[in-house]
Symmetry: C3
Subunit: 172 residues, 3 copies
């Protein structure tokens, strides 16, 4: 089996379908990033389905099949709880975040659920400090369409550096 | 209102139009970056309209509606002046820049003017030093078509770290 | 000549062709990155043609037309040798890599060979360390279709910082 084929094949029969799907995911991810970086964090749960699962997992755990997640939020309610916690967290110093989401890969579609991946990098800027990399890693996503809107049924953020989590305030 | 809708809706009625537009902006931004990073900086003004406005603004100012810009260039003439200043600046140490432009968002079209945003990261490499982040931020753009060519009527570079400006030589 | 035109014109007559081609290259690069970052490095040679040339070259050399390359691999056999060397290298500390490939530019097509460029950033994470930039630079590519699959006939990785090479283990 060819390496490229393994990573890009989709459940749809026509390439143009996969292309349109990737474009939709690109737009989704751009809006998702803008919401966290420059928008209203309270709208973040709207990117997910009612029964969504959101996890932030160190890559080392993920690769060893260890279930431990740094952040775990289940259901729209769990995501809303998380945003409330963020906006009420007064101990955290103010900071700017910026997401760079690239290399989107549509892996396949099964009974309406689209599996996709992307690489993400989040850079962080504290007042009077230079911009630095907060976290880089991979999204493991499951999308569904609700009407014409994509929603995340699952987003696992598998992050490469185990040092990050102590300072996680905003979602990846 | 849905978060995604708020960020991705366009003035065009068909999604395919918005898709084609985003693709055009992608190509534009890639050429823009290549011009600064690997090309001839004297061609940089060609990416703008005759009456264009180019600003580099710290995010903190922007968020507080403060008008102060670190760099301000108005009209094709102002942009050309800026490139001349760059090429004649002998105090600046030689350096390589590289732009990463992602998360392009088409926000809407009004009487031929297309509003769009994107995240940018510029990394800088000085001789015998490692590559480091020079600036990360957001482009707030207004595009128009001149014939089949996109041109920038406005590019505001809203940058996250207030530390950067002292070393700005090349445009973001 | 217009700056944008100079960077985006292609040999194909219709823009939609260039658009489809860029989308194919995007998917190719995403799969390429996933193979190195999260997949099986032994499949990396499958992204190349039998007679491919892969080079990693410091930008300073490239700009001065110096032929010296930090890494040089010729033909599928040479690439396979390189992957074997990687997997048997026990002196290198374990590390995670992650590729961010953006700003893809299709430069032209000549007798079936597609010339394209892209910006790349590779970030590296060592155990118990933060994620840092390993290398940023530019791919100078020549692609051909083998059936419906794109393959690299040439990938030159022109990297901006001359400091990197001592720690190159995985390919860019």
């Amino acid at each position: 089996m060819d390496a490229k084929t393994a990573n890009t094949k989709t459940g749809s029969s026509k390439p143009s379908d996969a292309r349109a799907l990737r474009a939709d995911i690109y737009d989704f991810n751009s809006a998702y990033a803008a919401c966290i970086d420059d928008g209203d964090i309270m709208l973040w749960p709207d990117f997910f389905t009612e029964d969504a699962v959101y996890k932030v997992i160190p890559r080392e755990n993920w690769d060893q099949n260890l279930p431990l997640a740094t952040i775990f939020a289940e259901g729209r309610g769990g995501l809303i709880d998380r945003t409330v916690a963020i906006t009420k967290t007064t101990v955290a110093r103010p900071r700017y975040l910026r997401h760079f989401i690239s290399n989107i890969r549509v892996l396949g579609t099964d009974t309406g659920v689209i599996r996709a991946e992307a690489n993400y990098m989040v850079v962080e800027t504290m007042p009077t400090e230079v911009t630095r990399i907060l976290s880089a890693g991979r999204y493991l996503d499951k999308f569904v369409y609700e009407g014409k809107e994509l929603k995340l049924k699952q987003r696992f953020c598998i992050y490469d550096s185990e040092i990050v989590p102590a300072t996680i305030v905003y979602p990846f």
